[in-house]
Symmetry: C2
Subunit: 317 residues, 2 copies
Amino acid sequence: MKALTIEKVGSPVRLTEVDMPVKREGHSIVKLKASALNHRDVWITKGMYPGIKEGAILGSDGVGVLDGRNVILNPGLRWGENEAVQADDFEVLGMPVDGTFAEYISIPNEYIYDQPEHLSIEQAAALPLAGLTAYRVLMSRCQTKSTDKVLVTGTGGGVALFAVQFAVALGCDVYVTSRSEEKIAKAVALGAKGGYNYKDETWYKEVETNFDVIIDSAGGASFQHLIKICKPGARIGFYGATLGKYQNLNPQLLFWRQISILGSTMGSDQDFRNMLAFVDNHKIKPIVDSVFSLEEGSRAFERMEAGTQFGKIVLKH
Amino acid sequence: MKALTIEKVGSPVRLTEVDMPVKREGHSIVKLKASALNHRDVWITKGMYPGIKEGAILGSDGVGVLDGRNVILNPGLRWGENEAVQADDFEVLGMPVDGTFAEYISIPNEYIYDQPEHLSIEQAAALPLAGLTAYRVLMSRCQTKSTDKVLVTGTGGGVALFAVQFAVALGCDVYVTSRSEEKIAKAVALGAKGGYNYKDETWYKEVETNFDVIIDSAGGASFQHLIKICKPGARIGFYGATLGKYQNLNPQLLFWRQISILGSTMGSDQDFRNMLAFVDNHKIKPIVDSVFSLEEGSRAFERMEAGTQFGKIVLKH
């Protein structure tokens, strides 16, 4: 079968002919119809990930068909029993274990779910990893309620957009940040109330101090300003930090105002089930930025690297 | 009546003759038998607190007698309905509202509780503010369970010692940090399993990465090391930051390991009730460092400033 593999760290992904997966006890072979890219996939090709196994099939997001059922895969393997944190042997689908950028995958049955019926194949492929990550940080970690005012930084990325969509569906007043006016406008079209352009580095000075929940993946030196626009009792959830370490955080602003800073990554099996049910209940449709074929895989990776996408980059198999 | 008041910012507290408090609707006049110092009192005399009202009676911790009952006062006034955070008009007893370093106090009835019977007057006076703060950060914010391994930094201070005692009573394995071997030994005598001397600035390098809960009030540049000795899923609760801003926090260590950094201050009425019940159930006895008379008030303040105390500095009226 055909698959996108990491041939060598530092080289683009390559479409190769690989052996069909072998069916193992407790696994099923799913015929994959579509998949989607995550930053993780790009980082792996660049060697920015621990334990890279050359020759592995990449891809964490996958939807396909099994015995005539449309199915969607939970990419979080072996979370374990503790809802608070993944087990030591937790793993994300796609390197080292073979992933979804292929015609078929062998996967343990417990990670196979019915695909929400209101979604196209492309929309469904966009959902798993980013939807799971957004759901956990927004709902399980920050315990966001309908009355909360929510800020999602860096709108445009997969997780950030799901956080916007989920919070809007909950009934929250949602705001975004971006350095692109176009992305802010698109977020508003999805139901956000407005946005702040952080090209102006003092953007936060214009913002009222009244966010109950902030979802961030930028971190870095500007994280300190998020604390200033929090309401007392606020929760700041974060699932990444592309700008690096936090600096100059003022503890007085945090402890006197009972603020929580909550690290989050991926999600438990329960989070995945809850996320699917939430998407189904609210008929949320993931935003697809663009669709490529498996053969165009390296172009899809280039688009991800460019960082101009709005929504998920999907591969149709 | 006699009272310790702040005559002028920058001057020591002074024992003065003031008017008896007037009984107001919904208030009672409690005859105070003992009180205790908190850092807050010292900071107020130094002008390191907002809204200082000269002439006010200081003191947040108080026990006394009302209609023959031994009573203990909740120093957290007007917390409000939201357990997550205090209301905007929340206030701590003792400046601007007249506090407990006096012969009598007029206080709303809802802040008056029966004193736990197993406590001496001095022990009971040591409990309110520090016990409440420790209870909230350890229990309500960090949700500490008996199976958690707990580190309390800077043992010796009132809140830190209550955090040690409460966690020991819960059944946790508790460790402390201090720059005094004597204080570490005293914490071990209270049931801690051991301690680390942070005079050695690389103390954290010798520590296993396995704390479920860390209670901190130092903050500063060394806060970053606390993250490194956390177990995945850990909660770091903090109620102060004597060493200032957090620097160089590594977000990857936080989000991948689902760590929570939880600011906390004082506690709700519910926290106070739960704290009293917990102290009563476990027959916890607050640690009294020293006892002064009201007349010796300025000496008590000097001892607090010196920072060598182990436990609470009590005033017996």
